[in-house]
């Protein structure tokens, strides 16, 4: 006997399962109209590939997957597409969503008649593709695309494959009858799963209130040689454990069967575990072996407001209304209609809503059976909720923080690990709708994170735009100043005759140069340096400066010829000095150009003499 573990908390609500177990699974029939929401799974909604008026056959793909996290949708029966429009869907919001509506023709003609395939000859990639193309999403509740969960790669670290036959929620018996009647298909599905993930052990967890199915399951599992499929010494076991709600939660079941707790924020795969729903395993068997897409499921219809509670094999898209009519539904004694179980289900606002891939139960209770929750009273801090919580959280602390909208505190108290099982609300003596607080707070946290991401994005774009505007402005200013400086310099060069204008222009040019050198760096340090550089060279251009200086000198010279002559003498002397210096250097180094330097010295000497003569002549003229 294998060791099993216990989970923290949990409750024992009345099971109410016997009512729907008397009958075997009954085919619900083909309703006049099938309504297929394009989004029956987690991830991107499928995209319709049919038009209004098209005739579709049973099993034909009518909407294809969009992106990696998505699955296609197939026609559950043959008929005509009469609408592709927003209809109320099976969702707690009661919102409308895009649905494909098929008016059935009753002939139920197959698109491709189901064939038989030997899955042991197929490789993993083909199997995953088959599972994806047949529209299989988790049928337990969340509806996560199964092909993604099974695409574990090669080699993988998966040691344990767990099949979830717990079905811990009261009233629901769809998995129970599935194990009772479809054990052969179930074992085939498990074999396919084993081939895909290659586990070392396969555990089928069943609560001990379904003990009648165990022998049948064990027999069915014996038909398969799992070791041959996995290439490992794989064992397959059916394990029963005491009934307790919510043992069927994925993380809870893993703890019960393996004693391991899945860490916060990680997936079971990190512990080497893959967990699958039974309905999904049967759907995989149908898809891979019989080539039959996911077009129907087993749904329990129960509660005291129906006279014939039982399990139906229902075509997806069948309106709830149709199912109820077949089970002897008495609307007058039914206080509310629940999709799912009494613990985690949601109230259906519209009975035209269709059954989807995740609909395991339609519950029609009377007021006595499932009373309207009495008004909430104040929390008395009794702590029952903390004892009941299967995730070992502190529900009353979470409740306070949710009331005060202290999202960070909620996160610190691990609200993300809440599985919304409703055990805390069930035991609460004050009838506080605790789970609703947690659901709302989780949504708020998600919204806040999304908003923060959006704000961060907006900030980046705003900063980028601001930088661009600053840069453009700086470039504009720089270009304007460059133009001004150039104009000033040109003016100075032309205004040779006007002494004042020339000095003013030169001064303007200098000021302009200084400004442009200072301002752009001061205003926009990050801006492109190119315009500044061109500006600086423009104004600092030695040629321009020389022109300006020459202009001023010319003016000065015409005003005072003696000074000009004096300067000529001085410059000639300076040149002579330089030339002599070069000559002595060259002589010392025995340079070849000594002669040339000598010539230069002579020339300078003669120029100096000329200048002196001119000066003397000027003085003489003046003295005269």
């Amino acid at each position: 006997m294998r060791k099993i573990w216990d989970i923290h908390g949990g409750i024992h609500p009345p099971e109410n399962k016997a009512q729907s177990l008397d009958h075997s699974i009954e085919f619900a029939g083909i309703p006049a109209q099938l309504i297929l929401p394009v989004s029956q799974h987690i991830g991107a909604a499928a995209s319709p590939i049919v038009q209004i008026g098209d005739t579709v056959l049973k099993g034909q793909c009518i909407a294809e997957a969009v992106g990696p996290v998505s699955v296609p949708i197939h026609a559950p029966s043959s008929g005509t597409i009469t609408a592709i429009e927003d209809r109320p869907i099976a969702h707690p919001s009661g919102l409308d969503d895009l649905c494909i509506v098929i008016d059935t023709d009753g002939r139920d003609t197959w698109h491709q008649p189901p064939s038989s395939r030997d899955f042991t000859q197929l490789d993993k990639a083909t199997l995953v593709e088959l599972i994806h193309n047949h529209g299989i999403a988790g049928m337990g509740g969340a509806g996560f695309p199964t092909s993604i969960k099974l695409n574990v790669g090669e080699p993988n670290n998966i040691k344990t494959l767990i099949l979830n036959g717990t079905e811990c929620e009261p009233y629901i018996t769809s998995d129970h009858v599935l194990m009772r009647e479809y054990s052969r298909k179930l074992a085939q599905g498990i074999a396919i799963l084993a081939k895909l993930v290659q586990p070392e052990e396969i555990l089928l967890g069943v609560e001990d209130n379904k003990i009648d199915v165990v022998a049948g399951l064990q027999n069915a599992l014996k038909q398969h040689d799992f070791s041959a499929l996995t290439g490992k010494a794989t064992s397959a076991e059916v394990i029963t454990f005491p009934t307790k709600y919510p043992s069927g939660g994925e993380k809870q079941l893993i703890e019960i069967l393996t004693g391991k707790q899945v860490p916060t924020g990680s997936l079971p795969a990190s512990l080497g575990i893959v967990c699958q729903n039974l309905g999904t395993a049967v759907a995989i068997s149908d898809a891979v072996i019989d080539d039959r897409p996911l077009i129907s499921r087993i749904t329990t219809v129960t509660g005291q407001a129906v006279t014939k509670p039982r399990n139906f094999e229902v075509l997806l898209g069948t309106p709830v209304e149709y199912l109820l009519a077949r089970s002897g539904y008495n609307a007058s004694i039914n206080n509310r209609l629940v999709m799912g179980g009494p613990m985690m289900g949601f109230t259906l606002l519209d009975i035209t809503m269709p059954v989807v891939k995740t609909t395991n139960c339609i519950l029609a209770p009377t007021e006595a059976e499932l009373p309207t929750p009495p008004p909430a009273q104040a929390c008395i801090r009794c702590g029952l909720c903390a004892e009941a919580c299967p995730a070992s959280l502190l529900p009353q602390q979470l409740f306070w923080f949710a009331q005060g909208k202290e999202l960070e505190k909620l996160e610190q108290h691990n609200i993300a690990d809440c599985i919304e099982c409703g055990a805390c609300s069930y035991v609460c003596p004050s009838n506080i709708p605790l789970v609703q607080y947690y659901r709302a707070s989780k949504a708020e946290i998600r919204q806040r994170d999304a908003d923060m991401q959006q704000a961060e994005h907006a900030k980046l774009r705003f900063d980028a735009r601001q930088e661009r505007l600053d840069r453009l402005e700086a470039e504009k200013i720089a270009a304007r100043q460059a133009r001004q400086a150039k104009a000033a310099a040109n003016k100075a060069a032309q205004a040779g005759q006007d002494p004042k204008a020339a000095t003013v222009a030169a001064a303007l040019a200098r000021v302009g140069a200084k400004k442009s050198a200072l301002e752009p760096t001061h205003k926009a340090p990050a801006s492109d340096p190119a315009p500044d550089a061109t500006l600086a060279t423009d104004v600092d251009d030695p040629v321009q400066r020389a022109i300006a200086r020459r202009a001023t000198q010319q003016q000065a010279d015409t005003a005072n010829p003696a000074a000009a002559l004096q300067r000529a003498v001085e410059s000639a002397e300076a040149r002579l000095k330089k030339a002599r210096l070069r000559l002595t250097n060259a002589e010392a180094e025995q340079d070849n150009n000594v002669d040339a330097f000598k010539l230069a010295v002579d020339k300078c000497q003669s120029k100096l003499n000329q200048a002196r003569a001119a000066l003397d002549a000027h003085h003489a003229a003046k003295n005269l």
């Binding site: 919102l95 909430a376 009273q377 009331q403 909208k405 709302a440 735009r465």
Partner: protein, 206 residues
């Protein structure tokens, strides 16, 4: 040395304190250089809380300038897109009183995005220049359109449009955006106590 300390306890005390002072001074000095923080961290923290709609309803040209203004003492209740939650977060950060949103700067509203009625657009580019986050696409004399995922709903493009072809539409809420409401016990108070019951019902019962 030891004798000197024994004979002059006062001097010893002064020396000990001096030594301690030097050691701590050195540690603080080292810390001030090693752990120097560039920029003003409080402005960045405030800016992180602001919603970055860049709408200018606060009277400043963007969220960063308003963050700077708050850091230098401006009131925290001028940001309608941030709403009450934003004021609470700012009050927590700055340790000041929570004050009501200033109506002068606008009311808290649901999130909206701009939508250009494209057949009416004349391609004047005025809205493109007004958009603080470059969320409008278009060119002169060509139709413009809003990139919904980039639009912050700031409203700044509506005013400059000469043909009034920009609408602010509420962001579409679908199945994925829907969420459970927080139960509100005050909306439907429990009619358990007789005096809490509505007068009409009491009459009917009587």
């Amino acid at each position: 040395m030891f004798e000197l300390i024994l004979t002059n306890p006062f001097l010893a005390a002064v020396l000990a304190l001096l030594a301690l002072g030097l050691v701590f001074g050195a540690v603080l000095g080292f810390g001030a250089i090693t752990f120097k923080v560039e920029g003003d961290p409080i402005v960045d923290q405030i800016n992180a809380i602001l919603p970055q709609t860049q709408c200018g309803q606060c009277g400043y040209p963007g969220c960063k300038p308003y963050a700077e203004a708050i850091a230098s003492g401006d009131l925290i209740n001028k940001c309608p897109p941030g709403g009450e939650a934003g004021i609470h977060a700012l009050a927590d950060l700055l340790d000041v009183e929570v004050i009501a949103l200033d109506d002068e700067h606008g009311m808290e509203d649901i999130r909206k995005v701009a939508f250009i009625r494209e057949d009416e657009c004349i391609g004047c580019t005025k809205c493109i220049q007004a958009c603080p986050v470059d969320a409008i696409l278009g060119a002169a004399k060509l139709m413009h359109t809003v990139i919904v995922s980039e639009c912050t709903g700031c409203d700044l493009c509506v005013e400059p449009c000469p043909v009034d072809c920009i609408d602010m539409l509420p962001v579409a809420t679908g199945k994925n955006a829907w969420s459970w409401d927080l139960p509100n016990p005050t909306v439907n108070p429990s009619p358990i106590i007789a005096s809490d019951r509505e007068p009409g019902r009491k009459d009917a019962a009587a």
